[in-house]
Amino acid sequence: MIVTTEKLTKRYGDRAVVDEVSLSVRRGEVYGFLGPNGAGKTTTIRMLLGLVQPTSGSARVLGEAPGTPRALLKVGSLIEGPGFYPYLSGRDNLRVHAARRGVGKTHVEAALEQVDLTGAANEKFRRYSLGMKQRLGVAAALLGQPELLILDEPTNGLDPAGMADMRDLVRALAAQGQTVLLSSHLLGEVEEICDRVGVISQGRLVAESTVEQLRGDTVLLIRADPIEKAHVLIEGSSLHGDVLHVRETDAGSLVRTLVHADVDVQEVRPLRRTLEEVFFEMTGVA
């Protein structure tokens, strides 16, 4: 495990912003940390980086206590938008960051290249578009080839093209074997690029598994006439209005059974819950 937390809790007064969260991130995976705004994602991540001290519970990042130099030097992060000096160029901002991380200028150029910012590297940060700022944030996170990349809402504020670019970038990093902890409230984004997902709601981790497991078994939807006869013929089916739902993956066998019994089969298709439906169910957000 690259990241583990055990009953990690942060309270402000009586309010538990993060409430006994126990999660684990495995080496080489893209872990989606999913939750509505204000669910506790950023606070959890800040605790993993040592920016916020937990009230109780514990966390280990790459086997180290969060916030120690040994842990931080192996972690690259982008938390709630990039924090850079507006009067410096993108390249100079990375040089400042590289000096703090103890890495050389060659790493700066490689990181700029990786996020496709070499051409705009001499422009002042304040003149960057939101997308460029986010990409510079990712470049800073990549300095020193970290073992773990923590990206907190990296597509926040981006237009659709910028979001697609960021997703492509994360996908490319994942393809290179980079472990990524990606926090987001955008379900499509997580569904598209994450191997495993942790869902947090009102400070509590309500689920942690693969996207497939979260979505559950595939259900077949069957529209047939007469539907009542089909319902009797197919064992374990449930009638929902004028359609049947059945937990069965062998659609061919079902269709043959119905056709042989003179039932007119009009539609057969897999019916899967989207991550969005699962998410709304778990978090109570509608």
Binding site: L49, T68, G83, R95, V96, H97, A99
Partner: protein, 271 residues
């Protein structure tokens, strides 16, 4: 060292650093030499200063006193603004978050900021000395005075200048950390350096204990040290305490401000 290097790089390329240093140099030249020179050559109001005093103030050998006399109030205020901006802006820009997740311990990151500010302040005092010396030599040459360059004795007012500048820097850093922003820290700092202590001195003439207190407040201690090493004729310069006592108070303020700011930086959540 990485933290100091990083902070120096960003302070060096920060326009605010050079604007504030530039403003200070213009002020010290204007009030230290230009106005005195004009007063000497046909001015009708020399604020009670005799010709001999004006000439003495502009002599190259007295350049140490010229450097130190401006620092207790206006120079100090400019240094305080620089330090408060350097630390406070990081909260608004989110650069503290980037800094503290880059790898160094919080105490190292803070030491980097303090180290870089120390370099900038030494540079400011050195530039003030060089510019003032240049102005003094120019005036002396124009007037045809026989002059001497400052001797080893200049180290005393320069050391005092550095200690005064260090105190205002530490004060600015403390305000930047405690207010977590540039605007409030600069506002409070300027209010203290230019208004509050002067108001207290006014009240002090009515209340003895307050008067005693004003002598050892940050600006009062700075003014007393400046007065003890030869600074005179500038707002904020005092002669109520010995140089040693004033210096000890200033060292105490540096320790308290830096210690409190570092403790806060290390212990407080960055949200």
């Amino acid at each position: 060292m990485g933290s100091v290097k990083a902070e120096l790089l960003r302070l060096w390329k920060w326009p605010a650093t050079w604007v504030l240093i530039g403003v200070w140099l213009v002020m010290t030249l204007t009030f230290g030499y230009v106005f005195n020179y004009l007063a000497l050559n046909g001015g009708t109001n020399t604020r009670g200063a005799s010709q001999q005093q004006l000439i003495s103030a502009m002599q190259p050998e007295n350049v140490g006193a010229a450097v130190v006399r401006g620092l207790p109030m206006f120079g100090g205020a400019i240094i305080l603004v620089l330090a408060a901006l350097a630390v406070g802006s990081g909260y608004g820009w989110g650069t503290w978050k980037t800094t503290l997740t880059a790898g160094p311990r919080r105490i190292s990151a803070m030491a980097g900021t303090l180290g870089a500010l120390a370099v900038v302040v030494v540079l400011l005092v050195a530039l003030t000395f060089v510019v003032n010396l240049g102005a003094a030599i120019t005036v002396a040459s124009l007037e045809g005075w026989a002059f001497r360059l400052p001797g080893i004795g200049v180290l005393k007012p320069l050391s005092a200048s550095l200690l005064i500048a260090a105190m205002w820097t530490a004060f600015g850093v403390f305000l930047g950390v405690i207010t977590k922003g540039p605007a409030l820290s600069v506002g409070l700092g300027l209010m203290w350096a230019i208004v509050t202590e002067n108001l207290l001195r006014g009240v002090g003439s009515l209340l003895g204990p307050v008067e005693d207190l004003t002598k050892v407040l940050p600006g009062g201690s700075a003014g007393n040290l400046a007065g003890a090493v030869g600074g005179s004729g500038a707002p904020g310069v005092l002669t109520d305490l010995s140089g040693t006592t004033a210096a000890l108070f200033l060292v105490g303020y540096v320790v308290v401000f830096v210690g409190a700011a570092t403790a806060l930086k290390v212990r407080r959540d960055l949200v």
